[in-house]
Structure formats: structure tokens, C-alpha cells
Amino acid sequence: MTETTPSPNTGFTRIRVDAFEDVPEQPGARKPDPILVVESLTRRFGGLMAVDVDHLEFQRGAITGLIGPNGAGKTTLFNLLTGFDKPNTGTWSFNGRPMRGLSAHKVAQAGMVRTFQLTKALSRLTVMDNMKLGATGQTGERFFPSLVRSRWRGQEKAIEERAEALLERFNLHHMRDEFAGALSGGQRKLLEMARALMVEPELVMLDEPMAGVNPALAQTIIGHVRDLAADGLSVVFVEHDMDVVRTVSDWVVVMAEGRVIAEGRHASIVTNPEVIDAYLGRHHGTPLDPAEQERQLAEAQAEIEAELEAEERAREQEGA
């Protein structure tokens, strides 16, 4: 089967073979060419099993959406895979190379770069310096060579050119000499993504790249994510908005309470009773159609808001 997707940024139509054609839509499904393979990975916080993944593969060159309710363990999984946290048990390999025990910077050097749910702009560095920092193998970043400018000037220039191009692409070029701390929330998300690309990764892991940005910018970011895959990168991204997940991901992995409970194309995921259970709780009766789902969510939201207001009022009265 072939699939044609209009790429919003380039206007070209991308034609590619569907790598997931023969992949069964079930947790732990084998992929034809996995870039990242996870094996019996667990992470426990006290009595809480935050991550408990038996087997999980991420397909090379694909955009994989990782979804799941709050507290499902998505960020913890990212932390484990990128060396920011240590698992209790388990192994994983990237490009066939075992990664367990590697420190975070080694993981990044290996070509697996992540962004953070809470954006980490380096505030008192300029946007340009943020970008240049991302380049690896810099002579000028070693202590003694750093003292002699002629040793690193040429490389710095090349890095700067690459950064300029990326800033242009991410529409941040006009901010290049501003402090990153002066950027808006959305611009910081863009910067973090662009900066990650300076590392020249093979796999980018984006933790909620569109959280808290306005819908227009979210569309832009979606375009960027697509472009990454078009450039041959593999992408894993965490996202709560199902519309976004539907439009961007080739494959969706669903986590709940630390486990992978479902895998598949978006269409099969949204009708999967396990997934609906995970999002709406166990005891809701029959599977819901999207409209009903929406209505129930709105109801729940209204309830929560009413509760919050009541609390607020109570607090005000206490204060008075």
C-alpha cells in the first residue's frame, strides 16, 4: 500500500511505502526496521510502577505518537531511554547498540536527542548561542584548544551557518541575537526543537512539543515534525491532542499506568476499548463514539471547574 500526504510546508506531495503494512496492531508488535528496541524495562518509584514495558519497537524513519493519560509514564520512559533516569530492570538498544547504563550525554552523542516537557531555553544565552551549543565535536569546547581562537574559528563559522539555516527554517532568525529568555513560550518550543537538530540526531524524542502553544503555532510545529521525517529522521513524540496525533503520526503507542496497552494506526486506537478504558476509567459501560466521548469529557471538565470554584470560594471566605 502506498500513502500520499501533502506536506504543508513544502507543498510537495510525499509518496512513500507504508512500513507498517504487515505490522500487527497489538502491544509489542515487531517492526520491519526498528531504530529503538526496548526489552522488559521497569522503573519503580516506591510502590508505584511508573514504567513497565515488556517489549516495544520504534520504526526507523517513522513518526510515532506516544499517548496516554496523565501519569501514564511517558516522560519517565523518555527519561529512561535518554539516560536521564536509571531503570530497575530492562535493556534497550539504539541502532542495535545496547544503551543501558550510558549517561545522558553519551546517548545524545549516539544520535538520540530529546526535548523536555517543560521547555528548557537557556535564558541568559542568546538564541544563536543556544543553537551553537547543540553542535557536537567542537574543538573549541575542549579546554586547551579553547584558549586559541584560530583552532576553532573555522569550525565555529560552519556551525553558525548551519544554525542560521535552521533558525530561518524555524522562523526564529529575527531573534538570533536576543536572549533566549526573552522568547515567548511558543518560540522557546521552536528553539528547543531547532537546537536539538543542531546535534544532527537520527532519532528525536519530543515530549509534548505542542503543549501550551496557540493553535496556529501548533500547526507550524506539526509541519516541522513532518519535515523531520521527510528528511529521514525518526521521530517519537508525546502529545495529548488526538487531532494532532491523528494528523502527524504514522503509528501510535498508548501507555497507561506504565504499560503499553495498545499500538496501531490512529483509526484503530481511538476505537480500542482498552484505550477508552484507560482514558475514561474502567466502569463506563459500552464503548463510546467520539461525540459521546466529547460530551462526557466536557461534563467531567465542568464538574472539575465547579469544584475548583467552590474551593476558591471556600478559601476566600476563610481569608475574609
Binding site: H105, L133, R142
Partner: protein, 329 residues
């Protein structure tokens, strides 16, 4: 009122021994705190290691002064490794706790009676500066306008300020480079730097070592200029004076620690001389303040001044207000 002596003492302090020593100590701290975000509260410990490295090597082992200097520097590198290895992987506050404790532990060891044969206990060490004094090319007093220094003073001030300039040059070269960029990024958010493939631990260690070695030079210059090592010169207040100098001048700026130290010590001299004369000439009655309280009151004024500085110019003399504004966001 003898205004001329007030001003001449103030000017001499601006370029005098304390200004020079604390400029060096603050330059080291600037690399730690200003550029890397490392809270080193044990700079006095690095200074002590430099001072005792020279003192013990020269007096107890009869080695020439330059060997003592090398021992002091190697000692500072060792102290940085000792403090950094266990703590630099942890959150920033652990380094702060460890360094403040280590500084005090060192001071107590150096002044302990048990080690008197090596360290001179609470009396310290004397008689190690002969090589330095013998090399003095100056003779006769030096006079310029209101300032006058003896030949001995001229010699250690020349050497000391030359070290200050060399250290400034080193920091300038380092911080304008990609290496310095990594340090500043670590100060902002070390996890982000890790995620970009940098060995944050190694950079923090390098920063701790370089700043600590500059701190040890400060200790050596203090010892050599006083021709004596006194353990109580290397207590925690010394570290905090260096911090005051740094913040006064502006952290994460090239000249901030140097100018900060010059301002700090000239304010100290000015307030002391002014208060003393005011008391002596009965402009301040004894019921408010007596001559012996001048020392304490000038610290109060200094504290007040620093508090005002933090309110009206939190970035220090050289700092960039925009940067400070960003940290509160």
C-alpha cells in the same frame, strides 16, 4: 578633619594588598559562580591550600619558593577533585554544603595543635618569603600624588596585580570560547546541556579546578605579602568578602571581580578613616559611637551599602540589567 589622609588611605586601599588578593579570589569565584553556576562557599579553603602549600614546602622541606608555588597549585587541583568528585553529580546545593564544610575543616586542621610541627598551629608559619624578598628589584619608597608604598609593598603589589591581569586574560580567553559557552549553558540548565551531548560533569570539574587554582594564587599572595600564614585569615568570612566583591562588581563579567574588589576595599578604608576622624574630632559623640567601635560600624555600613546595591543595581557595576531581569522570569 584630615581629608587628605582619608583620601590617600582610600586610594591606597583601592590598589593595595587586600584589593589585589580578593580580586584574585573573586576571579576564581566568578568562574565558579558567575559563569558555571557552581556555589563554591569554600574559596577560603582553596586560598589556605595555596598559602600552606607554599609555607610548609619552603619552611619544613627547605625547598625553593617556586616549588612551594607548584605544591600549592597541585594542592588546589587535588582539593577541587576531592570536593567535586562526589558532589558535582548532585544538585547544586550539595556542593555549597560540602565546600563550606571543607573550608572550615581545612582551617581547623591547619590550626590544630597536633600538626603544629608542620603548620605552626594557631601561630601559623613565617619565614618562607625570603626568595621573594630577595628578588625585589625595587628600592626606596614609591610616591605618587597622595599614594605612597614601600619597596616591599611595591614588589608584592606588582607581582600580585600582574597575576590578576593574567587571570583576567585567562578568563576572557576561556569565556569567549565555545568552552565558556558550555559553562554558561550549564549555569542556565544543566539537563538541557546534557541532552545536547555535553559531559556536564567534566565541565563543572574543569571550572572548579581552574577557579580553585586562581583562589590558591590569592592565598599565596596573601601569605607572601604578609610574610606569614595565619590560619584564621582563611575562614568563611574571607569567602564571603570575595563573594561581596564579585557581586559588587558584577558576576559573569570580565572586570567585575577586579573592580568590585577595588571598590569594596576602598569603601572599607574610606568608612573606617572617616568614622575614626569623626570620632576623634568629636563630631560623633562618645554616647553614639566610640573609637573602638569603628571597625564594627564600617561593616554595618558596608552591609547597608550592599543591600542598597542589590535593590537599585542588582547586576553590580558591570552587569547587564537585562540578564538579571531574565532570571526572575
Amino acid at each position: 578633619m584630615d581629608w587628605e589622609s582619608i583620601f590617600s588611605n582610600t586610594l591606597e586601599s583601592a590598589i593595595g594588598r587586600d584589593a589585589m588578593v580578593f580580586a584574585l579570589a573573586a576571579i576564581g569565584l566568578n568562574l565558579h559562580f558567575g559563569y558555571t553556576g557552581l556555589l563554591n562557599f569554600g574559596q577560603a579553603g582553596f586560598m589556605a591550600v595555596g598559602a600552606y602549600g607554599v609555607g610548609i614546602t619552603v619552611v619544613e622541606f627547605d625547598a625553593p619558593l617556586w616549588v612551594g608555588v607548584i605544591v600549592g597549585i597541585v594542592g588546589a587541583v587535588g582539593l577541587a577533585l576531592l570536593l567535586g568528585l562526589p558532589t558535582l553529580r548532585l544538585r547544586a546545593d550539595y556542593l555549597a554544603i560540602t565546600t563550606i564544610a571543607a573550608g572550615e575543616i581545612l582551617r581547623f586542621i591547619f590550626r590544630a595543635a597536633e600538626f603544629r610541627d608542620f603548620t605552626g598551629g594557631s601561630n601559623g608559619i613565617n619565614g618562607f618569603a625570603r626568595d621573594f624578598t630577595n628578588a625585589n628589584p625595587f628600592n626606596g619608597d614609591f610616591e605618587l600624588w597622595l599614594i605612597s608604598f614601600s619597596a616591599t609593598q611595591m614588589w608584592y603589589l606588582t607581582v600580585g596585580w600582574a597575576l590578576v591581569l593574567l587571570s583576567v586574560l585567562l578568563i576572557w580567553l576561556l569565556t569567549r570560547s565555545p568552552w565558556g559557552r558550555v559553562l554558561k549553558a550549564i549555569r542556565e540548565d544543566e539537563d538541557a546541556v546534557r541532552a545536547l551531548g555535553k559531559n556536564v560533569y567534566a565541565y563543572k570539574m574543569q571550572s572548579l579546578i581552574v577557579g580553585g587554582v586562581i583562589g590558591s594564587l590569592a592565598g599565596m599572595m596573601l601569605a607572601i605579602s604578609a610574610r606569614s600564614v595565619q590560619p584564621d585569615n582563611y575562614g568563611t568570612p574571607t569567602t564571603f568578602f570575595a563573594y561581596a566583591c564579585l557581586i559588587l562588581g558584577g558576576a559573569a563579567t570580565i572586570w567585575g571581580p577586579v573592580v568590585g574588589s577595588m571598590i569594596f576595599w576602598s569603601i572599607m578604608a574610606f568608612t573606617e578613616n572617616l568614622l575614626r576622624q569623626l570620632v576623634e574630632n568629636d563630631h560623633i559623640p562618645d554616647s553614639i559611637m566610640s573609637g573602638v567601635q569603628v571597625g564594627q560600624v564600617r561593616f554595618m555600613l558596608m552591609g547597608l551599602g550592599l543591600a542598597l546595591l542589590m535593590i537599585f543595581r542588582p547586576q553590580g557595576v558591570f552587569g547587564d540589567r537585562r540578564e538579571i531581569a531574565l532570571t526572575t522570569r
